[in-house]
Amino acid sequence: MSLIDSVSLPRSLRLPRVDGLVQWIVPLAIIAIWQVASVTGFVPTRVLPAPSDVLLAGWKLLLSGELARNIWVSFWRASIGFLIGGSIGFAFGLANGLSQLSSKLTDTTLQMVRNVPHLALIPLVILWFGIDESAKLFLVALGVFFPIYLNTLHGIRTVDPQLIEMGRIYGMTDGELFRRVIFPGALPSIVVGIRFALGIMWLTLIVAETIAASSGLGYMAMQAREFMLIDVVVLSILIYALLGKLADSASRVLERLTLSWHPAYWKR
């Protein structure tokens, strides 16, 4: 009897509203401990400013319009770079997954380029593009290209051949076969590629902005370091965390929209 009680109790606690809040307990607790540690002087503010100071710095930057402008610039660079790199990666993934000839022509080259860390190209990119927008877009596009290319290719190559045979038997044309069998079959893998790419997108952008830029979040953090504004540095880092979480949530929404047929994405 007592066993049944103890087992059924946690289940009844799992209301959907509570579920959404549970994931925020740990971050909020960390911030609370951090605040207490700063106020009591356990952590010197020269090393790590209190969350309230960081919030205050954020408020000031928000009022001056600097914060919104920098976030917007970074967001714009990230999205455009992602779109360019992502579409090229997707196109190559499709071509090489569907055509033997295309795969033989380009796959080896792409695999070689893939093994060069794209951030190692920064000096070269600065020489080519200066610290212009195109330098950042180029780096983000290059970073995003590979996860999307590889996962699209993998997705298309691993579509169940029995389903493709079925499609052919039932008289599907090449276009129909792609639309109804190959693309939906490759989609779970493509979505995984998008999630990887979103992570790489932020990483690349922040590094690029830190090294060579005159606006954006990375630039804001570097400027703050020059003037020893440690609260702004911490603020920038926290904004990266929030933006990363936002990108992850966006990809989850994408998963739910496109993979609703997949048992792994059903709500339990």
Binding site: Q162, L163, P184, W261
Partner: protein, 278 residues
């Protein structure tokens, strides 16, 4: 050899069966007779994979609308024969003729795996079976009718992954039936199902075959299934038709009757004695 296995039905049993289900018989007779099946003629059919000669000259005539079961040990070439008939593979020599003016929609195959598209709802999966008529305006109603025939109307908007194995196979059957095929080839369609689901699926197959009158070719390793469903059982050994057995038992057949069991036993004996010889 053939005559030895040919069986005739005792008169007494016919009489009792007629008494037992007179209504069922009347209903069947009132239906418009659809002679939609295609006759099938195969001459000297050969097929090899590399050095392995799988089919070594098959000669076979199947009249329109007949239900033929093909049995044999694994690797005897029975599935290859079916794939050749269905046009899934090319043969090396011989001919297969299905009469004139055969459209691709006239021949359908059902596999051991349901092969449903997991990302399409049940009804769209059935619509796939319409072939080139998928875009036509009555596609929906035709697919719904086919779903009704297999008794799954209430599942039309479900994803295939929530269906049981038997239900998935019924959707696959609806997909094969929706284009009103004239030849339906079954490649062990019930092999992966549990015993009870198998029997109800066998009944379903027999019913739709009787209703629609297509020519049915069933490859199976289950001799009991073959004698329960087919008009004629072909035993394939080493790439040739070793026995051609006519099953005259009237339908609906009594599962587990002594007559079918006897027939099953003698076919099994042939299969096993061939085993002893090698």
């Amino acid at each position: 050899m053939q005559t030895a296995l040919r069986t005739s039905l005792p008169d007494t049993e016919l009489a009792t069966r007629a008494n037992f289900a007179p209504h069922a018989r009347v209903v069947r007779e009132e239906r418009p007779v659809q002679t939609s099946g295609l006759p099938l003629s195969i001459r000297g059919l050969r097929k090899s994979y590399g050095d392995n000669e799988v089919l070594r000259g098959i000669d076979l005539h199947i009249p329109a609308g007949q239900f033929v079961a093909i049995v044999g040990k694994s690797g005897c070439g029975k599935s290859t024969l079916l794939r050749l008939i269905a046009g899934l593979e090319k043969f090396d020599a011989g001919s297969i003729s299905l009469g004139d003016a055969v459209k691709p929609e006239d021949i359908r195959v059902m596999f051991q795996e349901p092969r449903l598209l997991p990302w399409a709802r049940v009804l769209s999966n059935v619509e796939v079976g319409l072939g080139r008529d998928r875009a036509s305006s009555d596609a929906h109603s035709r697919a719904e009718k086919a779903l009704t025939e297999v008794g799954l109307t209430d599942k039309r908007d479900q994803w295939p992954s929530i269906l049981s194995g038997g239900q998935k196979q019924r959707v696959a059957l609806a997909r094969a039936l929706v284009s009103r095929p004239r030849v339906l080839a079954f490649d062990e369609p019930l092999g992966a199902l549990d015993a009870l689901t198998r029997i109800s699926m066998q009944r379903l197959l027999e019913r739709v075959w009787r209703d629609q009158g297509f020519t049915a070719i069933l490859v199976t390793h289950d001799v009991a299934e073959a004698v329960a469903l087919a008009d004629r059982v072909l035993v394939i050994e080493e790439g040739r038709i070793a026995h051609d057995v006519v099953v005259n038992t009237a339908r609906p057949r009594q599962r587990g009757s002594a007559e079918l069991a006897g027939l099953e036993g003698s076919i099994l004996n042939h299969l096993l004695s061939a085993d002893d010889r090698t």
